[in-house]
Subunit: 294 residues, 2 copies
């Protein structure tokens, strides 16, 4: 799928996702002018040094001026301020999309600021690493991953198609769903796993010193995978949990019940309960391999 | 470190670990005769087909006859029966070691069956994949991983040295510690992570059908790593939890308290608590990278 021709793309936020998208635009659409917007001067300097932006600014209003594509890629807590600042400067006919991990909150924060003749197509490219910042981006980040768009019922079909084509050009498969449904699915596949990884790594951090140093040395047996997940960007993840509270608490409640049941089985030596549970989970792994997500 | 010269190695259990060690012996010590022992005829047939055993038997007593090295690599629940059967057939001067993930239980189950002039050096190569069976083994499995030996105070130093040299030849770094301490460290680094992974994948398995299919499709955001861990061998893991009950319940209790604290922070919108916790966990990841375990 070839990239739609954008004249001027404003990337509000140029971290892992924003800078990876900039690299895709550079590679596949060299005539698109890229404006990078970030709060910190050193982030903007990095974007210039990496040559992934033609212009840089710390002002969202200046960034979106004349842009036909605007991608909001900041932490969720900045959305409302970004929206308020850029809203009046958006050009009629422009497409605004975002990459936030919670779509209900993204819509609530940005939609009120989008003028009538601008097209807002919320999106979530489900891709990432534990690294953050413009240096950590790479164009291949999105390849073979899913991007979920959550367009509102009134969205113009052409705008949805253009955003779809953008992410397909980046190598993604694109699905659309309702924002609330997206937030439930992601609470299970992404938010709860991150919460659990942060928790267990925190539990290890609090161990007595002698035990803790050995936990680090002998981390190969499963713990290591959790530390990678728990090294993800703290601001981004704080915002996700604050903004997807209901769905995360719901999934967490289910998880806690299931964990308590296994705890009880261990305490009472109920080997059959453990064996049955551990056998069922192998089937899900097979489904994921069949769905080519492994 | 070169492999000590063993004339005849009996591998009791020829799954992922046993068959990987057999491949190391084949590669580095072609004159060592390998006897593979397993309960199921098809496992023994696989060992012969893969040419990782010179002889096969389903009788531990026959397997250890004349062996100067015996490696017990069955699930923990088989240890007592294996010990009772092989004990009287062990040759004086032989070295018996094992690869079990819980050392207190391994010592309790095997030690009573080991005759006076046989050397018992319990061990745990901390390596593995989510695959099981003789076909899934490979000689490189152990490379750059830790092996923890938990010799009893009365162990002959030469026997400990030989087992150390065996695992070093397989590419491992070798540490020694007390069985109870090993079981605490592993409860945190391996057993608790597996329990949590099994739980969350189980929680997803129980979701309503519409949600569940999308959890599989969009599993890239963290959940996928858990499904890999939760695809590990159910019998081996049942036995680990039944045999390391006290240490696992202790670590699980700490984890549950920490998870409840984060749950509360999410419910009450305490962003600072979340941010602080998520920042501290990044430091552990750095320690692991520095310890070259990442």
């Amino acid at each position: 799928m070839s990239l739609p021709s954008f004249e001027r793309a404003a990337l509000i936020g140029i971290g892992l996702i924003g800078s990876s998208l900039a690299r895709v635009l550079r590679r596949d659409s060299p005539r698109t002018a890229i404006v990078a917007c970030a709060r910190r001067a050193e982030t903007l300097a990095a974007a210039r040094r990496l040559e992934i932006a033609d212009e840089t600014t710390d002002d969202p209003a200046a960034a979106v001026e004349g842009a036909d594509l605007v991608v909001v890629a900041t932490p969720l807590s900045a959305y409302d301020a970004v929206g308020a600042r850029m809203g009046p400067a958006l050009r009629p006919g422009a497409i605004v999309t975002d990459v936030g991990s919670v779509k209900g909150a993204a819509v609530r924060a940005l939609a009120p600021h989008i003028p009538e003749r601008v097209h807002f197509v919320p999106g979530h490219p489900v891709a990432g690493t534990e690294h953050s910042g413009p240096e950590s981006g790479f164009a291949e980040l999105f390849r073979d991953r899913w991007c979920i768009l959550t367009p509102l019922p009134e969205a113009a079909p052409e705008a949805v198609e253009k955003v779809t084509a953008l992410w397909q050009a980046a190598g993604m498969r694109v699905a659309t769903m309702d924002p609330a449904h997206h937030d439930k699915v992601l609470a299970m596949t992404s938010h709860l796993p991150h919460l659990i990884a942060y928790t267990i790594v925190g539990t290890a951090t609090d161990l007595e010193e002698s035990l803790k140093s050995e936990v680090i040395a002998f981390s190969a047996g499963g713990f290591r995978d959790f530390t990678r997940i728990a090294a993800s960007d703290p601001v981004m993840w704080r915002d996700i949990f604050l903004n997807n509270r209901e769905a995360v608490l719901e999934m967490l409640q289910r998880f806690s019940e299931d964990l308590t049941a296994l705890q009880r089985a261990i305490r009472w030596g109920e080997g059959d309960v453990l064996f049955d549970r551990f056998t069922r989970t192998r089937a899900i792994r097979r489904s994921i391999i069949e769905a080519k997500q492994a």
